[in-house]
């Protein structure tokens, strides 16, 4: 006997629940558990993942073992072929309508996104482009494919692919100047991260949980990375950390709190490492950081408890 059924019988026996209501509750629970079963990965889904993984490994081994011997057209075909196959497989799996196969289709699209970027890079390389241009072309194509697939069918995996592709685009942007420019990369990441979070919170960038994590990471990384090259971006890391914590409290989103605190501490440790030369002062500063860590854990625990209380 399931747990809800036990409760229902007990409440009926105690005269708290009439038969009609109990029946409605049974139907509701039956539908809910059916949906949950569909959402759980099954054997079919596992086989799809296995197939995608085997194809990906096969392509990687083929490329690694015979790349030098391949002619130019063969080099392009060996990455473009699987890219198109993965794209089509994604559409086919999605068309089945079965949740587990649909998720497998999204994974196939992730592979297609990666291979599209690689294909574009190979074509650029064949055209005697320099390595920076190869990187630019790969990142742009991967972004275009990731964004298009997310527009066609937003899913957790597509949001992940989009955020990662945008990350590579920020790195590619950094290589546009003569010397790699961390500030430029950082500013691009801040732009994409902030836009992604704003759109996610506005309900325009589903699924929300993955969008929050991925674009939160992009924003935090953008706030942190440029500080190695520019002092004013060191301060920006603290501003971004503060903003994430404020948004976390305002919107009741735990993941922003975690990201904000991690970014704040990383920025603090970097500031100490880069600017405090006196060992005693550094030790004291580290103690302060330690106290802050403990304090923040307490704050986090209280915040989570308050959220749990308000949810119930």
């Amino acid at each position: 006997m399931s747990a809800p059924e036990k409760h229902l019988r007990r409440w009926q026996a105690a005269g708290l629940l009439d038969e009609a209501t109990a029946e409605r509750l049974r139907r509701f629970e039956a539908e809910r558990s059916s949906r949950e079963r569909e959402d759980r990965p099954g054997i079919l889904e596992a086989v799809v993942y296995l197939g995608v993984a085997i194809v990906a490994v096969g392509v990687a081994v083929l490329i690694g073992s015979s790349w030098d011997e391949l002619q130019e057209w063969a080099r392009i075909a060996v990455v473009a072929g699987p890219a198109v196959a993965a794209l089509l497989a994604g559409f086919a799996l999605r068309a089945t309508g079965q949740p587990e196969l649909v998720r497998g289709g999204h994974l196939a699209w992730l592979v297609a996104t990666v291979l599209s970027g690689v294909t574009a890079g190979v074509i650029a390389d064949m055209s005697d482009a320099n390595e920076d241009t190869v990187f630019h072309v790969s990142a742009i194509v991967a972004c275009v494919v990731a964004l298009t697939l997310w527009v066609v069918a937003p899913s957790h995996i597509q949001v992940f692919a989009l955020a990662v592709a945008l990350f590579f685009l920020t790195m590619a942007a950094g290589t546009l100047p003569d010397a790699f420019d961390a500030v430029l990369t950082s500013l691009m990441a801040l732009g994409f991260g902030a836009a992604g979070l704003a759109l996610a919170e506005a309900g325009l960038l589903p699924p929300l949980p993955t969008a929050r994590v991925m674009f939160g990471l992009l924003l935090a990384w953008g706030g942190f990375f440029g500080g190695f090259e520019a002092e004013w971006l060191e301060a920006a890391a603290f501003v971004v950390a503060g903003a994430l914590i404020v948004v976390s409290i305002a919107r009741g989103v735990f993941v922003y709190m975690v990201l904000g605190l991690l970014l704040g501490f990383a920025a603090l440790v970097r500031a100490i490492a880069m600017h405090v030369e006196d060992p005693t002062a550094a030790a004291l500063a580290l103690i302060v950081v330690g106290v802050l860590i403990v304090g923040s854990i307490i704050l986090l625990a209280r915040f989570r408890a308050r959220r749990t209380a308000s949810a119930t």
Partner: protein, 231 residues
């Protein structure tokens, strides 16, 4: 779907604005090369310069930029030097030694020398006793009698100054080599000792330093020097 297209438009706009601003405003880009002497030859620059290009070929160019010609190719060139006004010596790597081939520029004939000579590092001191210097970030200076003067400043990226290659044999010009951050080949720049005249002789030189370049001026000889004794 409309909402998602709006999201896509936002990301595309950020990408286009960010990348476009870098490309349009040339953010972080440096253009240090002086005007091309091939495009606008300068007859005031005397002599001929032999250098190795990135196809591993020895090129003989009028220093004025008026003409240039490939005279010899080899995959294993170690150094090149003038011997006299019509003869070049080209050393090639071989196991345990260097083979030196002499090229008669008048006839195009080549011959292996029996007693190979050795390349000698170029001197920063000119025949006039002036000393060339390269300073951060892209300044070229000339010092003499305890006085230093900056004769040219190039807009080079950080940590990418041009390298000194050699003085001209008459001591009136400096030959510099510059390799851009994303370039596969090097550029050869000529600067007058007062800095008033600057020009790019080549953009396809090998980036190996002074041993791939040699300057001949009639009546003044050649630089960098070759050591007289065999290896």
């Amino acid at each position: 779907m409309k909402d998602r297209l709006v999201v896509a438009a936002v990301f595309v706009t950020i990408a286009v604005m960010g990348l476009g601003a870098v490309v349009v405003f040339q953010y972080g880009r440096h253009h240090p090369s002086p005007p091309s002497l091939e495009a606008e030859p300068n007859a005031a620059i005397p002599g001929r310069i032999a250098f190795v290009n990135d196809d591993r070929c020895v090129v003989v160019a009028e220093a004025s930029g008026e003409s240039r010609e490939e005279v010899y190719c080899s995959d294993s060139i170690a150094w090149v030097s003038w011997i006299d006004e019509n003869t070049l010596a080209v050393a090639s790597y071989a196991p345990g030694r260097e083979n030196v081939t002499e090229i008669d520029l008048a006839t195009g004939k080549t011959r292996e020398t029996e007693q190979p000579r050795r390349f000698k590092a170029s001197s920063r001191e000119s025949v006039h006793g002036e000393v060339a210097g390269i300073e951060y970030p892209g300044k070229v200076s000339v010092s003499s009698e305890g006085r230093r003067r900056v004769i040219a400043t190039f807009d080079v990226p950080e940590n990418r100054p041009p390298d000194f290659v050699t003085w001209s044999p008459d001591g009136e010009w400096l030959l510099l080599q510059y390799t851009g951050p994303k370039a596969s080949a090097s550029e050869l720049w000529i600067v007058s000792r007062e800095g008033a005249t600057k020009g790019t002789l080549a953009k396809d030189a090998l980036g190996w330093g002074p041993q791939i370049v040699s300057w001949w001026i009639d009546g003044s000889g050649y630089l960098p020097e070759l050591a007289e004794e065999p290896r």
